[in-house]
Symmetry: C2
Subunit: 347 residues, 2 copies
């Protein structure tokens, strides 16, 4: 099969590798129908050291079940399935709490142990817990496929930010970042009843989609100017909720500066820092709450599928360009150059 291998910063290749095989009775083999490139794939694309063997890539997948281990009971051959970006048993206490990304028996794709999903076939560990069947839909329902694929990561990562912030109807929500996750957070905030949604981003083609999805204000200014603009828009009080979809320190600082006293900062941008201000001058003094983390999208997929199927939400609009598997290296380059917001890959 063809698979995507990264050999170092900027060096992505599509190569023919051995087809995956069932390794554990709980595994499934899935034929990929749609996959995509994630903003987080760009981190190694920028920084990975040269590797002789390379690292297979990808963690988002919509596919059709091809083969099942002997212990798998919840999916069957031919099912159209969504694979969340982390695999999990979905039965342990941590999964039952709704934090499947921390399942002690689970793990991540594109690691030395488990191949990435930007490939024609995938081995899915713990298939009963890790695959969600899309009922009544086949791979021929092409218009639905992009939005269904977003439930494997990007839309539900934005949703997780909004969910952890416990957005209440009528609240003001500021979204920091106009990447695919930030825009998804706008859509999720709207779904949860936010009255005013301020999108901080400076790429008009992207913020336009944010406005379509419910952003009531766009703040293109950055730094102090951007902070002041949000404060001005909120009568000087700041935003009840801030959804941070960037992961860099300036975004963290901006977030607590624009939050209303007693408000919530919810992060889904993977922090590229370990320490940050949390004391009297940043979080504590104004009773700010900091929340968020890796999105346990598995917890939200079932409830989201009907919203996609009935057209309530169309999160697949984040995909602005489609590539073949052979063109995945170009997809990385285009996303890196910001000429593509999010690359859909059709297998």
């Amino acid at each position: 099969m063809k698979a995507t291998i990264m050999y170092g910063a900027g060096d992505v290749r599509v190569e023919t590798v051995a087809d995956p095989v069932i390794q554990q009775p709980t595994d499934a083999i899935v034929r990929t129908v749609r996959t995509c490139v994630c903003g987080s794939d760009l981190h190694p694309y920028h920084s990975m050291g040269a590797s002789e063997h390379g690292q297979s890539m990808g963690h988002e997948l919509l596919g059709v079940v091809e083969e099942l281990g002997s212990a798998v009971t919840q999916v069957k051959k031919g099912d159209l399935v969504i694979a969340p970006f982390a695999f999990a048993d979905n039965t342990c206490p941590i999964c039952k709490d709704g934090f499947q990304t921390a399942c002690p028996h689970g793990g991540f794709y594109a690691t030395p142990e488990t191949a990435g999903l930007q490939a024609e076939l995938a081995r899915i560990p713990l298939a009963d817990g890790s695959l969600v069947v899309v009922p009544g839909v086949t791979e021929k329902d092409e218009e639905l496929l992009p939005s269904l694929l977003t439930l494997s990561d990007v839309y539900l990562t934005g949703y997780h930010a909004a969910h952890m912030a416990r957005i209440q109807p009528g609240q003001t929500v500021t979204v920091v970042g106009d990447g695919a996750v930030g825009l998804s957070a706008v859509l999720a905030a709207k779904q949860l009843g936010a009255e005013r949604i301020i999108l901080m981003g400076r790429h008009k083609d992207r913020t336009d989609l944010g406005v379509e999805w419910g952003a009531t204000d766009v703040v293109a200014e950055r730094g102090e100017e951007g902070i002041q603009k949000v404060l001005d828009l909120t009568g000087g009080f700041g935003s009840h909720v801030v959804l941070e979809a960037v992961g860099l320190m300036p975004a963290y600082e901006q977030s607590h500066r624009v939050a209303r006293t007693g408000g919530v900062i919810s992060r889904v941008g993977v922090p590229q820092y370990e320490k940050a201000g949390v004391g009297f001058m940043s979080l504590f003094g104004r009773n700010l709450t900091l929340t968020g983390g890796p999105a346990p999208v598995r917890a939200y997929i079932e409830e989201s599928i009907p919203l996609v199927l009935d057209g309530t939400i169309t999160p697949g609009k984040v995909f602005d360009r489609t590539y073949t598997i052979d063109d995945v290296p170009a997809a990385y380059a285009d996303m890196d150059a910001r000429s593509t917001l999010k690359a859909l890959v059709t297998i």
Copy 2:
């Protein structure tokens, strides 16, 4: 009147000063019935530089209204009143949100602008917002007075930690710190329905009160040993909620180490640090929520008074020794030496 003045580290004096007078039409003058010494008063007791004029001290008060400014309408002469440790208008949007400690028109006692409350008389700014009448009780109901006084700060600071953590019935709650606020947090966690309450503290006379108030386990070990003990007590998962009532960095680190994935750390110990770990290795990777701040006790007083009056809670048990106003310097010294948990001052 007599008032408590701190002239530097370890130098507390009770002196005769001018009686306070109405300065604004919204002021009230209150005759102190009970006041007390706060753990936070020990910070300047340790570190204050020598001051020629000194600084008046204290921010907790139960008293009787003596005199009213012309604009005060909600309290009347002779009312027994509780003064929350911060004054606030209680009408602005931030107060309506329940965060009166951040009222833009409010402020704090024991500052250059507003005298402290360890004194025979006090000027209370914004009296309509800042004083809460205790209905049907007089200063002669002596057995009720200590618990009513705790509603000005200590009990409701512990309660704030529990409230911000949104404790759900059946949850496991770990309290870090066996000072008066930590013990109050135990009582509040019990009130909110925590099933298991693990108190981390090593002063048996204090943790005994914690057990009386609902702690099901006491962990006297500190550091790695203490962390492991909490993990062992929780089946390796950690605690749904951690209430941090210390404010030092080791307590912060201990808190995130004993928190369950997806759990909440709620701080009311004023952080003696500004930066701390919040990245993938501390908070983010396990979806931990960090919350808390200065307790807006004003928001909780009315609902707490009936619980004190009917004996549901007796938070006044944190006071283990009573002093006269003349003995306040000894109260500081005894609390500093940990021979007194919390000093009640009878005026």
